[in-house]
Amino acid sequence: MQQRSNKRTLATLVLVAFGMFGFGFAMVPLYDVFCEITGLNGKTGGRVAATEFNSEVDENRLITVQFDTAVDSGLPWDFEAEKLSMKVRPGELAEAYFTAKNQLSEPVVGHAVPSVAPSVASLYFAKTECFCFTQQTLAGNEEKEMPVRFMVSPDLPENVKVLTLSYRFYRSAGAEVAGAEDKSKDISEVSSDGTG
């Protein structure tokens, strides 16, 4: 009798342990969902269709969007924003340009990882077009102008007046440099969490 109940307890608890091991991994997508809801880590969401932007333009507010650029020390590129900052009205579709230049004479593939500060603003920041959605291949010494089309939602909390959009370019590990197809490789499908 006791032996049987011991076995049953054992089986149940082993299952619980395995379940919790799975939960550890389940925390990865859960965390991303959580971040998307709360803006926890300042990651911006992926591509948003232009049709979602029929919201009213808020004429009373002017938000300063600051652009910050950085290149990881492993990538021999120059990367700069054309303008340091721009003022946009919430609800208005805006466009900003960035320039990347490959310092090497051979082609290099890189990809940009965006981040928004304050992190809560990332919830109200949407991009319809961004060079960060795909990997970028620059031919030897190529210089390339890259646009970002974005909108700040009118729901942005009142106390946020300045927000910073930061891009950091990384060398894409293991990316094949040769083909031009790579350009169309959609990072948001490749990476585990759909951010881009």
Partner: protein, 380 residues
């Protein structure tokens, strides 16, 4: 009459406590009050909670010590046999909750104050590297690297035989401090190039992690001109203890002059990169660059710490073909601690450091590496 005596005694006690408080500050026993509105608030909060804890502690330990004295078997007491009291148990659940609420209110207020990064007049971007900080003044276009002062770096080597007490501001001094204007709201964007660091100057009242791939925000407004020192606070590898932070707060006028000077230097630097440098000039500058950028790993005498940090003295790279050496320093060696310095330092600095390492520590290649060669190498 009695009241008066009690009063004077209380005043005396309060005075004594206040004295103890200042004495504590003098001896570095307590948290600094700092020089920003936020740091002063944090200090007050810290003191409030400390005193609440002290009072509770005196109560609990007092009861305990009294009991240990009065309720000893050796005094022949009979043990009581009670084992619960609903009133007491409810009381000491409810009262602590009330105390916690009292603590939470000011804490919440200060926290909300801390999070208000809006209306800043300028933005400084801080990037952590192993093991130095890069500062970029976003509006003014000034940027530079700040690393451990060479004097401290020489003294902190194992077996250096230099007494740290003889080094000014040992481990809390840098080659180039972050300069900020006083009475100006400054917003910081904090990130990292490699691992997680944390930027901390106690006098400003906060620390914030520098996380690779993400930018963090914080702000400060320094009220008093002065020099404030801090350190990296998040374990970031071997030289975590050796990446200090120095903030120099200047009046807005002095600050403006400083910025103009920096911008002038930057122009001069660009011009300098175009011209031909003499061997002696390069060696001279190279020894400074080496001390600031290279000596942390490769040691001031170039012996390194093999296998992770190879010796440069008569090394195959430092005495071998110049191009391979330039490539290594400009692009780094992935998977090792050797960073790519091409984007981190100016062409002149890289050229000078290369010239120095190829002609110091008994290496005698006689090469003078020119800034132009670096620019060419970057182009590939």
């Amino acid at each position: 009459m009695l009241n008066k005596a009690l009063n004077s005694r209380l005043t005396w006690l309060v005075g004594l406590l206040a004295f103890a408080g200042t004495a504590m500050a003098d001896y570095g026993l307590n948290m600094t009050e700092g020089v920003t509105p936020f740091s002063a608030e944090v200090y007050e909060l810290h003191m409030i909670i400390l005193w609440i804890c002290v009072v509770i502690g005196i109560g609990v330990f007092g009861a305990m010590f009294y009991s240990m004295y009065a309720h000893r078997k050796s005094r022949g007491v009979e043990p009581a046999q009670f084992s619960h009291s609903t009133l007491a148990e409810v009381l000491w659940t409810v009262v602590p909750i009330a105390i916690l609420v009292v603590m939470a209110i000011p804490a919440t207020r200060v926290l909300i104050f801390m999070e208000q990064t809006t209306d800043a007049e300028m933005t400084v971007k801080i990037t952590g590297y192993q093991w130095k900080w890069k500062y970029e003044y976003m509006e003014d276009g000034v940027e530079f690297i700040s690393s451990l002062h060479p004097d401290s770096n020489a003294a902190r080597q194992v077996g250096s035989d230099i007494d740290p007490a003889t080094v000014e501001n040992y481990l809390l001094d840098v080659d180039k401090p972050l300069v900020l204007p006083t009475n100006t709201k400054v917003r910081f964007l904090i990130t990292s190039d490699d691992v997680i660091h944390a930027w901390w100057v106690p006098a400003l009242g906060w620390k914030r992690d520098a996380i690779p791939g993400f930018i963090n925000e914080a702000w400060t407004e320094i009220n008093e001109p002065g020099t404030y020192r801090g350190q990296c606070a998040e374990l970031c590898g071997k030289d975590h203890g050796f990446m200090p932070i120095v903030v120099v707060a200047k009046s807005p006028e002095e600050y403006a002059a400083w910025v103009a000077e920096q911008q002038g230097d930057a122009v001069a630097e660009t011009e300098a990169a175009q011209r031909e440098w003499s061997f002696d000039e390069l060696m001279d500058r190279g020894s400074d660059v080496y001390a600031a950028q290279c000596a942390a790993c490769h040691k001031p005498d170039g012996t390194g710490l093999p296998p992770a940090f190879p010796s440069l003295a008569s090394s195959a790279v430092a005495t071998g073909p110049v191009d391979a050496h330039i490539d290594l320093v400009v692009n780094g060696r992935p998977g090792t601690a050797m960073q790519a310095f091409g984007n981190l330092l100016s062409d002149v600095d890289v050229a000078a450091a290369l010239t120095y390492t190829r002609n110091a520590f008994g290496n005698e290649t006689g090469d003078a590496v020119q800034p132009k060669q670096i620019a060419d190498a970057k182009r590939g």
